[in-house]
Amino acid sequence: MTDPKPGITEREAIEQAQQGNEAAFEVLYNLHKRRVYSLCLRMVSNPVQAEDLAQEAFLQLFRKIATFRGESAFSTWLHRMTVNVVLMQLRKKNLPVVSLEETLETDDQFPRKEFGAKDVKLTGSIDRMQLQRAIDRLPPGYKSVFVLHDIEGFEHNEIAQMVGCSVGNSKSQLHKARLKLRDYLKFMRAEKAKTG
């Protein structure tokens, strides 16, 4: 393997990757692998599927790397490509990317605020694994917007464009997602307090 020189910048790695340098590809992969994989994992909640999606996102990026001219940040380019790969996968499986029904909510499987958890407070930090578990329980539509906005940092106008909804819908979905997460976390905290 031809090793890029120590201290290579991302720009230099891109240039060398455009010439077919394997080590340069690996440098770019290592720079962005956590963000790409984390995004995939949050959206599909399945590690095996997330691996496949992350692999596909990088492959698509590397296949097109010769066309990258540096007009935008490389990470932004990769990030958008990853979201497109994931959304395409969700659509293939006929999973709702964004809930279009803003008022219809079936809470049969979700704890209601009225039953036992309303006195529990969320002060302090939230346990990371509990938060991950709560996010995994969100309906697919809410989860997409929450992941893209609160975790990945996309703006609502970007999310609306990516998932095919209105800005207002995106904001509404986000708010509902946060409310639902609050309920889940309070419920989990109440359950934990009961079991000691």
Binding site: R34, L59, R133
Partner: protein
């Protein structure tokens, strides 16, 4: 001003949306969007329930942001990507001859044979890690009790680290166990204690102890010496992968110690051990 009115605009305020956002969305929620932010903030100061709601939603949003880029993909993802790139001809530069090959002829042979010979131990260790991971997770509570009884406490060092989170009492080469240092007396006691359920209060107090970092295990050090023969970037990649999976094992093990009934966490711990075993396997494949 009603609490329901405030909740409708809470998302805008939490995200620091510019005032123009109110006008953009006015067609969808005209009543709420006409409220001015200062009025909402005044309500929050006087209404504890709404204030708590706003604080909770902000906390969730902030904590969520920390989850970005928090997960490490397994090594096999890069392996598959590289293989695909080669198959598609996107990797075109010839493989550079390793620096070691320009040394006198007998040295590369020695290094290559040492790497191949040294790598053979990875296969059984890889298999052992998977078995060990399953054993540890299924007996986690019993291990905690056994680890902290008077017979074992003096001899059991802290067991987890960023480079060596191997469990204390599993029979793979690695950290010393109570059985190794006081073989006769403690084994029956440990077996008896293994029957007792662990108490959550005891386990919760051990989390800090579980996070202490001892020296790297012999296996990890041997693994690192094997990958030291690889190209610098590959070597660094393996080292980073090892650190990442060990960190994952460390954190998950500490969480399982506090929450022994959490099956998801236990499965995650098993998965982490399997990932480490796979890393060893991939390294072995690489040097052969």
């Amino acid at each position: 001003m009603k609490c329901s009115d405030v909740e409708q605009v809470l998302q805008e305020l939490l995200d620091g949306e510019p005032d123009s956002a109110f006008e953009v969305c006015s067609s969808e929620n005209t009543a709420a969007m006409r409220l001015a932010a200062p009025d909402v903030e005044a309500h929050l100061k006087s209404c504890p329930a709404c204030a708590e709601l706003a604080a909770d939603l902000k906390l969730i949003s902030n904590q969520a942001h920390q989850l970005a880029a928090s997960e490490e993909p397994p090594s096999r993802v890069w392996v598959r990507i590289a293989a695909e790139l080669r198959a598609e001809g996107l990797i075109t530069e010839p493989t550079k001859i390793e620096p070691v090959s320009i040394r006198p002829a007998f040295i590369p042979a020695l290094i290559a044979s040492r790497a191949r010979w040294s790598a053979w131990w990875l296969a059984p260790i890889a298999a052992g890690l998977i078995v060990a991971g399953s054993f540890v997770v299924s007996h986690q509570a019993a291990l905690q009790v056994a680890r902290h009884t008077p017979a074992t406490q003096a001899t059991n060092p802290a067991t987890v680290s960023s480079l060596n989170p191997a469990p204390a009492s599993v029979s793979i080469p690695g950290p010393k166990t109570a059985a190794a240092t006081s073989p006769a007396g403690s084994e029956p006691a440990r077996q008896e204690l293994a029957q007792k359920p662990a108490r959550a209060t005891d386990l919760a107090g051990r989390a800090a102890e579980d996070a202490v970092e001892p020296a790297p295990s012999d296996e990890d050090q041997q693994f690192l010496s094997v990958v030291s023969t690889m190209a610098p970037y590959t070597r660094a990649s393996y080292k980073n992968e090892l650190q990442a999976v060990n960190k994952d094992i460390l954190e998950t093990q500490a969480y399982v110690n506090q929450n022994p009934g959490d099956m998801d966490a236990r499965q995650h711990l098993i998965d982490a051990y399997q990932q480490k075993a796979l890393l060893y396997q991939i390294a072995m494949d690489h040097v052969q």
